[in-house]
Every structure is written in C-alpha cells, then in structure tokens.
Symmetry: C2
Subunit: 649 residues, 2 copies
C-alpha cells in the first residue's frame, strides 16, 4: 500500500455553490445540530400557527354546509354557534390530553412515537400515514385559504389563484431549506400581527355589538346551491366535522418538543396552553360575530366579510386581510417543520426511503421538505386551489392520529399503574415512574381517545362521498407501502449480513478484461492505455451492427493499435449491441467459473448536458444489462472534450 | 491474450421481448432493408393521403376567413369558388415542377436533397427545418380534423376530443414502428374507401344540382363572429392562404421515391399525376357544392354538412364521416413516413442528433417516429385539438420548402445547359445529362419557385398575428440549432481525430486503486475480492459524514477485512461525500503525474426499479464529478439482491 490519505492531511472542506448558498445559506457542519432550538416566543408562531390559522376557514366551512339546508334558510346558520361551542369543548379535552403527552415524552411525543412505544408497529405506521397525509393537506388547505384572502381583497387576482399558491409554496420551501431557526425568526412577526389584528377585530366587533352599531354584511352573494329543504342529521354532522378542521394542528407542539429551549416539556406545555386558549376564544368570537353580521359562504371569505363590516373597506380591512394571509402561510410552515421530522423518523425505522434521514447542507431534512412541497403543489393543481374541495379530505388523518396517540397514552398509564412504588423504567424517549394519579390522567387520555375516534368516524362517514373516500383509501394504501418498504430493507439487510461469516474468502480470482470498442479515435487510445496499465492480458471487441463501420474500425485499429492486440468483430445483423457481449461473457464464465469479467467502456464526456445528448451514450444501456450478471464489473474510461475543442487524455 | 471470441463462435441472436414483439413485430435483420418497397397501388395511400385529405378542411378554412367579413354576409362565400380555382392552377404548376424533380432525383428528391445539391448547406437546412416543422403540424392538423369529423357525427364525444386525438397518434406510432410495408397494407383500404365515398358524394351532389333537387343545409349555426363589414384585401389573402393548405403534401411522393418498386421514377411520377388530378377535382367539387348548399363554418365540419344534405343522415352519411376520418389518419401517416426519413438524412449530415440514423429492430427509424409522435401530441395539447387554431402555423414551411426545392431545380437546369453534348456528370443521387429542353423545364421550375415564394410571403404576412409568427420564428431558430449541432459534431470529430498521430503512445501508466467503502457487508467483500484480483496495491477509504457510522464501519472492517488492508476514514463534517474524494485524487496526481486513479465503487442492484430507489445510490453522484477529472477511471462492482432474498456475489 502507498502513503495513506491521513499522511496527506485531507481536510473535507464544505462544497460551495454560489446559487445554492444565495438561496439556502452556507453549509453548516454536523456539530451545529444541537444549537437549532427556539424560545417560546418564537415557538408559538412556528408550531401553533397551524391551529390558530384554522379560524380563518373553520367558521366559513360550517356555514357552507349549513347553507345546503336551503329551506331552513339563514335560520340554519344559528346552529353554527352551538357547533363551535361543542368543538371548543373537544379542544379543551385534547389540550389536557396532550399536556400529559408532552410531559411523558420530553424528547418528542408525536402520535407516531407514542403509538410505536405503546401500541406496536402497525398502529404506529397507521398514525404515520395519517399524519403525513394531513401535513400535506395542511400545506395545500392553508395556502389555498391564504390566497382566498388575497383574492377577496383583490378580486382581479382570482384567475391567478393556482399560480399564486404555487409561488408561495416554493417560497416557503426555500425558507425552510435554510433551517428552522431562521424560519422561526422570519415567521414570528406575521403571526403576532395576525393575533393583534384578530384581537382588534373581535374587540371592535363586540364593542359595536354591545353599543348596537354592528352592521350586517352588504354586497355579497352566497355561492352555495341548497340541496334540501330540511336540516338533516347528516348535514349537521358534516357541519360539525367541517368545523373540526379548527382543531388541526393542536398536536404540532407535542411533535416539536426537541426544538424548544430547556426546560423543554414545561416550555412546550405552556406554549400549548396559550395556543389553545387563544384558539378557543377567537374561534367562538368569529363564529358569533359572523352570525350577527349575517355572513354567508361566498367567493369572498367570511373573515373578509367580517373585517369589511366591522372596519369598513379602509386600511384596517387590508391589514386584516394581510395578517390572515400571512398566518395561513405560517400554518403551512408548521407542516414544513413536522413532515420532514416525521418522515425522517419513519425512514430511520425503515418504513420510508432512507434518503429522508439525510440532513442537507443546512442540517434540515432536505428530501422531506422537497417531497412535501411537490405533493402539496400537486394537490393544489388537482383541486384548482379551492379550499372547499380540499376540506373533505382534510382532518381525518389528524383525528385518527389523535385517537392512536391518546390510546397509546392510556396503555402507558396502565403500565404505570403496575409499577412498584420505587420502580422506574427507562425506555427510549420516556421514563415510566409510579404516579398515584394514573387513573385520573388515564381517564383524561381515554376521553380524548374516545372523542377523537368519534370525530374520525363522523368525518369519514358524513363526508365519504364528498372526497373523504380519498383519504380513507389512501391511509391503508400508504401503510401497505410502508410495510413493503420495511420488508425490502429487512430482506436486504439479512442478505448483506455478515453475521454468520467468520473468515470470509477474500482471495482474488482470475480476471478477463474485455475492451468494448465502438470506433478508433483518441479516446480509444486512452481506453487501451488503461488496459495496458492493468498489466494483464486483455481482448478488444467491436459489435458490428453496421458492416461498413465494422470494416473501417478494424482497419483503423490495425493501423493505430494493432501491435498491442487484435480487435475481434462480432457481427450483429439484428443491430443488437448488448446481447453479443452478454453471450461472450457467458462463454468465458462457463469455461472458467468464478472468473471476474471486467468490461472496459470508453465514454466521451462533453462540456454541457445538451451536447452529451448528441452522442450515442450506449454506456448506460450496457451497464443496465451487465450489472445484472454475476462477477461482471464495468469500468468507465472517460475522455473529456475540453471547451477549447481538444480531448485531453 | 486468451482464446479469441471467434474461436468461441459467438452468434448474435436477436434480442427478444414479448411485449415489444406483440406491438411492433419480431426483429428484422439489416439485410432485409432493401425489400421494404411498395407498389403504386399501395404507394398512393401511403404518400398521397396527406394531399388528398386536405380537401376535408381546406374549403372550410376558406369559408371561416370569409365569414369574418360579416357585412358582406353570405355573399362573400361566393368568392370561395374563384379562390379554389386559383389554388388548383397553382397545383398544376407544382405538379409539373415536381414531376421533373422526380425524374432528376430517382433516389429521392425531397426539398432537402435538392437544396443541398444545388443551393448549398444553409438553404438545405432551412428547407429541412421548414419540412420537419410541417410534418409535425401535418400530424396534428390531420388528426384534429379527423377527430372533428367524429365529433360532427357524434357530438357527445366533443369533450373527449383531445384524448381521442392522442389515442390515435399513439396507435399510429405503434403501426409505424412495425415498418412501412405493413403500414402501407393496413392503410390502403381506408384511403380507397374515402376516394370511393367522395366520388359518390360529388356525383350525387352534382346530379341533384342539375336536377334541381339539391337542398340547403339545415340546423347549423355559424360559430364565427364577424370582425369587419367590408371584405378587405387582407381577408382575401388570408382566405387564399388558408385554402393553400389543400396543397400540403403534394411533395410527399418526391421524398419517397426509394420506397417505390422499379422503375421507381416512372411509378412515382404516375402516382403523382393521379394524385394531383384527384385532388384538383375533389377540391373544386367540394367547394362548389358547399357554396350551393350554403354550408357555413360551424362546430359541424363542412364535409359533414355536405354529406348530411346530399345523403341525408343515414348509412351513407356515417360511411362518409368514417371515410373522411380514416383518410385524415392516413394523412398523418404520411408524416410518419417522411419525418423519420428526413431527420435521418439530416442526422447523417451531422445537423441532428446521430441517434436519428439508428434503425430499430424493425428497420424503421424508431427515434424519428417517437420524436414526431411526442411533438405532435404536444401541439394537440397546446392547441386543445382545434384545427382552426393550428391552421395559421401550418403550410408556411411547406411552401418555403417548395420554393427552395424548385429554385434548386432551376440551378440544376443551368448546370445542364452548360454541359457539352456528350458530357454526363454523375453526382450523389442525380445524373446531369445534356437536355435540349433545359430552358423550358427550367422555366416550369422557375414558375413553381416564384409562385411558391409568393404564397409563402402571403401566408407569413396575412396570418402573422394569427399564429404564423410561431413558425416564422421557429424555422430560423431550428436552423440555428442545426448549425450548433453541426459545429459540435465537427469539433468533436476534430478533437478525437488521429489524423496527425503516427505512432501513438500506448504504454501503460501507474495505477492507484481506491476502494470507496460505504459500509461493511457481503457486497463489500466482493469489492475487496475484485481489488485483490487486480493483483496490485489498493487503498480503502470511507467518507465519514456521520461519525458514529464511521466508527462502526471501521470496527467491522477490522473484523472482516482488516488483514488485507487498512481502512482510512476521512472526516466530512459538512456531509459532503464527493469533495474529499476529489481532493484525495488531486493529491495523488500531484505526487505522481500521469497516474491512473481507478475508483472502485460498490453498487447494490435490487430486483426492481422501485426498490433500487430505496438505496442511497450515491454512485451516479460520484461518477458525475469524477468523470470530469483527467485520468480517473470509475469501476462499478455490483452485488445483486436475488428474488429469493440472497446476495449472490
């Protein structure tokens, strides 16, 4: 062996690309990973904007369903208030449930982890499939709803709805490829702006209400065509499940605990309490005011109708529209934090492609971010950026994951109940300690699980034909796919395992070196020089698909290379290039079992991709076939076409 | 050297693929190429259907333009008759011109060849660009017009217009990939069916006309909104150029002479005379009858209106619709014969990618056929399968190529005039012999060139804003591209040339072998075995992007392979894999100039494409960078994952 690389002091410098750095920043080294944590004040916008922003569409989607009961007329709209109150009750139960999860799983207690630890592999994969589906939908729904705010304020932009949605998704992708800390900072301002504007809207609205100066909305035309004249139970259930979209995202904090500053659990729990309080108050407030101003589902969003009626179409109206759009974009950003994190977890467990665990130059899970952006963009294109068409697919996954997560917590409390008073079990990501209140805490989680299950079923049944069937079919398909992937990784690991190998046979075999010659030119000389360098016998073969060319090649070979070795021409009247080589290799191997066949290909490398396409590029064709043959090795000898028009070999 | 392949009697059998053979037939050997010729009776449908089928839309497109002159009302439609008469006059001149080309170029006298021989490289490339553009448009326009016949007969199919167009294009693609002879046979029946039905339609129509029983069309609503109240010269010119689309395809036979049976020129000329006669008569006949029944441009095609009025909506009506659709599909097929042929010619001259000269397993130019199908499909998608939107782009290219071709013939006659009485000049594809009538024949071609030029200019100017600008810009862009490609091939050939090399240095250099190790498993053992087989020192390197994994890899290496050589770990804190390898290679090369670096990669090959995606596949990444380094050779050692779950290495 020669001098080792260490003696040469190889230092791996980061690879630099000007355009990539401009977009996503300079590379960060792996040791920086731990520093990417955030304060509560920044965590709220990063993890809670999904939940908070739901108020921008939840009330409207309730009204949109109630409007279908045409005969009952606007009276049906009054039911929006009791429906929201029930939803807020549900929110309280879920918040209490999830606080317990946050303390039990300080290193991150998403539904996937809790289900995996307590329920087993299959429920965990169901939770994973449900959550990934919903993260994608969160991006699509939030962005579409944000753009609906823009087109409410500026109706002339309506034709460009899809284009604006896509531009926003890809802008966010770039921000997130820079890393979560910078994202948090960039996104905090807009979320607080929304909270401030919403507070102002609600306070002004209720002040006007109590002083009798609250008007009703004008110049708005309902765009829902009634389908029945009586309010059926089915419609009520659909309205309720539409409203439940307000609760999507309340679990986000429990997934993101590791991103908080220490003490992580306490900070995360406090943030969650704040978030739920704000969410409950604004949701009920907006629903009540929307009813009072007689808002209706229309091309203009309900938030826009409210702001127009309460503020008038002045600066405050536009500020509210801007703030709502901004917070909805932040909401989509929640998924850009969670989707890559969860998919990396599942990939680490071998249920998704392993590439998802690779951190990019900025330490974020680049593949996950890109996959999310692509899938969300596809949904926007398929559903034409229309919130109401996306809503029936949405939130089933969230409530299914709530159910599994809370059920997992119930199992965990049962384990706790069986501990001896001084026993403590350390497990990956959680510690089981005796707790005298295990029965009360278990009951809270049990109630959370039960209610979530009911909502999941209501959602799936009442909206099945509207689009929920897509999700209902998609989740099991994904689970099936995850297990297929898992099986492949397991089989591969087993096949490659050295477990039963004590003393592997590493002796060399004989090698036959075959040079494939397409033509004789400067590049061919390099191919021959390399073969000569190997210091062993070699043979050169030309596949004669065109007999005139074969003759020319043989002549030139004899002129330039002939003294080093003979060129064999194999006629191929059917113009098949790979087959004859395969047959030749099989003959060699039959005569000399165990021999390595080293096929040496010549490959012209041009200066640009388009000129590369102008050459035959049969290399990949050969490799595709030869790589499926045992003990066959393919060597590429490149010769470069330089920009100055020479070949330097 | 070992035993040569000849001694092993390698016979190149055709490669067989069940699905491909079902679609395109079994492979044909190269020697069969000469047999693929066709009789006049079969040649007419193959080469003339483009021209003949134009009558299905040419009259309608004249009316569509005249309808824009709303104020003049239906009276403007009367002008369709003199316009068609002028167009038929033009047809006669072109037919006489092209007959002379056919005799002068018995091995094929398309505009490209005639321009190349007589006018030089640049005009030839202009002709090539013009023709290729129009071949693509012929497919799109003919298929769209064919489907318009279908939707006229069955209006409920209108929403699926684009889908039907695409299905037809790809059906034709499969037929043509089987080869021209089978195509001819498959396509003869429908064309003759159309000619028979058209004859019946015209005879019945004129019989009714002379007996006073010809009705006028009912239940049809004009779908053109008038834009002016006076018939401007511009509109007249536009109507004329729309009508000139009837002449597209008259050149097809002159391109296809080699496909005729001997005597090729005579058979081709006879076929051309037949074709022009039939075309002229049917075009005028249809235009006259359309005027008499007061046909208007509408969603229903003019042919459908005619057939409905003359035959009534019975079996004959549907037979006519079927025949028209069928002949339009045949017309598209003309391009499937010509486009691949012309692009192979241009590619042979180095102006298009060389792959276009490769004959597929069935001896047809498969790449050309596929390229045509893809481009025509794109046009259908872009223009939503609407004939009227495609027409303004169409026919400019054809008339430009007519101009260049006839101009080339004029130059050729001038050369003939200078020959001594007994002189004969043999040139590629043509023979120059003294001809006492050179001046008369030259005048015919000159008149053809002049008229074609006028039509080209009228077309480009009168339809510039309607869409002709696309073609006017596209043709020079293509010519520019062709010359870029040509320059690249010329530069590459010069760079690779051995012309000034007398005694090339073919001595071997030193080799440094670097094994890149990602992990230690059964596949790694194969990598090591191959390195050992080379019988020279080697080093093994692991790029440590993840320090825990690096430690694990080092341990396993020491356990299983350590006694054969040491593993060097290069830390890469920025997780860059390729950079450190590049730096290592540069150090080796600096120390030992001229050394070959053989980078040996391990590559897991799985049983299916989707499982392949689940692995890191960093190989292509390494190769992309390493292939741009001098004297660096990349060797792939594959290890196969078998379907039974083992790795056989």
């Amino acid at each position: 062996m020669g001098v080792t690389p260490e003696e040469r002091q190889v230092v791996a410098e980061p690879e630099r690309h000007a355009i990539r750095e401009l977009l996503v920043g300079r590379p960060l080294d792996s040791a920086s990973a731990a520093h990417q944590t955030i304060r509560k004040f920044v965590a709220l916008p990063v993890f809670a904007s999904d939940a908070l922003s739901s108020v921008a569409y939840a009330t409207e989607e309730i009204l949109r369903v109630l409007a279908l009961a045409g005969g009952v007329g606007l009276a049906a709209f009054s039911l929006s208030i009791p429906i929201s109150v029930i939803i807020v009750g549900l929110l309280i139960v879920l918040t209490l449930s999830y606080r317990q999860t946050i303390f039990a799983y300080p290193s991150g207690g998403g539904a996937y982890i809790v289900a995996r630890d307590n329920l087993g592999e299959s429920p965990a994969q169901v939770a994973g499939a449900a959550l990934l589906t919903d993260y994608i939908l969160t991006v699509s729904v939030s962005i579409a709803a944000g753009v609906a705010q823009i087109t409410s304020a500026f109706p002339m932009l309506t034709p460009f709805r899809v284009e604006i949605c896509l531009a926003l998704i890809w802008l966010m992708t770039v921000v997130n490829l820079r890393g979560v800390k910078e994202s948090g900072a960039a996104f905090a301002g807009p979320t607080y702006f929304f909270l401030g504007m919403t507070a102002l809207l609600l306070l002004t609205g209720f002040w006007q209400l109590t002083h009798g100066s609250l008007g009703t909305v004008t110049d708005v035309r309902m765009n829902v065509i009634p389908i029945t004249s009586t309010l059926t139970i089915l419609l009520l259930l659909r309205a309720f499940s539409s409203g439940c979209t307000a609760l999507t995202g309340v679990e986000a904090i429990s997934n993101g605990i590791p991103a908080f500053k220490e003490p992580k659990s306490r900070n995360a729990a406090t943030t969650m309490a704040f978030m739920s309080g704000i969410l409950g108050v604004t949701f009920i407030g907006i629903t009540v005011l929307a009813r009072r101003i007689q808002a209706v589902p229309a091309d203009e969003t309900v938030i826009s109708q409210l702001a127009r009626t309460i503020f008038g179409r002045g600066p405050l109206y536009f500020a509210m529209a801007a703030a709502t759009t901004a917070v909805l974009i932040m909401a989509a950003n929640t998924s850009f934090a969670d989707f890559p994190r969860l998919s990396a977890l599942q990939a680490g467990d071998g249920f998704l492609p392993r590439q998802l665990t690779n951190r990019g130059s900025r330490l974020v899970f680049s593949w996950g971010i890109l996959a999310l952006a692509i899938l969300a963009s596809l949904l926007i294109l398929l559903f034409n950026g229309d919130v109401s068409r996306l809503i029936p697919l949405y939130a089933i996954g969230v409530f299914l994951s709530f159910t599994l997560s809370q059920l997992g917590m119930v199992i965990r409390w049962r384990k706790v109940s069986r501990l001896r008073p001084d026993e403590e079990i350390q497990s990956k990501g959680t510690v089981l300690r005796p707790d005298r209140w295990w029965w009360a805490k278990g009951t809270v989680n049990g109630l959370g699980a039960l209610l979530s299950l009911v909502v999941t079923l209501v959602f799936a049944f009442s909206k099945f034909t509207e689009g929920a069937w897509v999700t209902v079919l998609l989740i099991p398909s994904l689970v099936w796919l995850f297990f297929r992937i898992h099986k492949h990784y397991r089989d591969t690991a087993r096949a490659l395992s050295l477990e039963k190998v004590c003393d592997p046979d590493l002796r060399g075999h004989a090698i036959e070196t075959i040079l494939l010659i397409d033509n004789v030119h400067r590049g061919t000389l390099q191919q021959v020089r390399f073969a000569e360098s190997l210091g062993r016998p070699w043979i050169a073969v030309h596949i004669g698909a065109d007999s005139a060319k074969a003759e020319r090649t043989r002549e030139r070979w004899n002129q330039f290379v002939g003294h080093r070795g003979e060129l064999t021409v194999i006629e191929s009247p059917y113009r098949n290039l790979v087959g004859p080589v395969q047959q030749l290799i099989k003959q060699f191997q039959a005569e000399n079992p165990g021999v390595f066949i080293n096929v040496v290909l010549g490959q012209l490398v041009t200066t640009s991709w388009w000129t590369q396409l102008l050459h035959q590029n049969t290399g990949p064709l050969f490799k595709f076939t030869l790589q499926r043959m045992h003990n066959v090795v393919v060597t590429d000898v490149h010769y470069l076409l330089e920009p100055d028009g020479t070949v330097d070999v």
